[in-house]
Symmetry: C2
């Protein structure tokens, strides 16, 4: 706890506050209070509020995308033209998010809420950052799905993958809010979400 540097404490507090109360209520005064530091320390370490938010996102987004890529590449063994099992592909896309959420120690679950909120927030700067990061990996997965589903047109695959991402994003942002989530322990609810989501995604692409 106290072993963390001021910079890390600021990043963690920011992440938590966004997850709990959203971007609208986020203020550097609340951040500095929760991080047990001074107002000006934030500007000293990060320049300004927006750059701080960007770093909160970048810090974990890089990791998430790397894991997704790695799992996909392990499936096609480096040969992008190799046809893979559809369920495995979708698993490679959805499971890393699962892992991240369950990785409570590293604050992954908190971050997924942040990510969901960042999507919803239509601020230009956030959307730019996300689009820049997300586009290449979406294309890569869409290619793999294309090989696994030869009966569907490229366009249809693009659309459905987009819808799947929508369902995923919506579900991530919904944790703790949905009526179902209040009837189950959170971890259990989460695991069920992911299992159902993968089945749902497979079904939507194989009907």
């Amino acid at each position: 706890m106290t072993t963390l540097s001021t910079k890390e404490r600021i990043l963690n507090s920011t992440e938590r506050l966004i997850a709990e109360n959203g971007f609208a209520e986020l203020s550097i005064r609340k951040i500095s209070l929760q991080a047990h530091t001074n107002l000006a320390a934030i500007n000293y370490h990060f320049g300004n509020k927006q750059q701080l938010i960007n770093q909160v996102l970048e810090r974990r987004l890089n990791n998430l995308f790397e894991v997704r890529k790695k799992m996909l590449h392990e499936l096609n063994q480096g040969d992008v033209n190799l046809e893979c099992n559809l369920e495995q592909i979708l698993h490679a896309f959805i499971a890393p998010a699962l892992y991240m959420i369950n990785d409570e120690h590293q604050g992954g679950r908190v971050f997924m809420k942040v990510l969901a909120r960042a999507y919803a927030e239509q601020s230009d700067s956030l959307h730019e950052l996300l689009a820049k990061r997300y586009t290449p990996i979406i294309k890569e997965f869409a290619e793999a799905i294309n090989l696994a589903c030869p009966d569907l047109s490229r366009q249809t695959i693009f659309w459905r993958f987009h819808f799947i991402i929508g369902a995923l994003t919506y579900t991530m942002g919904d944790f703790g809010a949905s009526s179902l989530s209040k009837q189950l322990p959170e971890a259990e609810y989460f695991n069920q979400s992911v299992a159902e989501l993968i089945q749902f995604a497979v079904a939507s692409l194989t009907a």
Copy 2:
């Protein structure tokens, strides 16, 4: 334009500003400027900012849900135990949103963005309002889907319908932002979205 009452101008301006810039940047000063009225007029007509936002949502939500209900009831002809075609049920759920978006004159398209943002926003008051309104109609549609898909468990149907709503919500909020939407005229892009979304939803429930 000038024939609208102050109250209506305030509601319309609020709706537009939320759609364009989100809840975070919404201020009653901006609203009053765009509505060509005074700051205090807003508090006079609506009490406070939150009540104004609620009325913006209520105004169109009521209509949207009524249309959905009506279309569903026309399918099962008043007998909720009558089995309907799955595609027709999903059409009854998705198409009214389509109609609303295309109804530019009544500002429906603008409102769908507002609705998408309202979902993302995790403010308690907004979530409460939406949950209260949405729960009954979701149950009704889930029942109809249950009859149309006898092979799927109640729970699976609940989950998948939840995911479909997620995909719909995500797509609604995405208008004007997605890369695909910039390659097509907006109306065309929209019609394609809905057609693809219905096919996607049907596929996800019939695999």
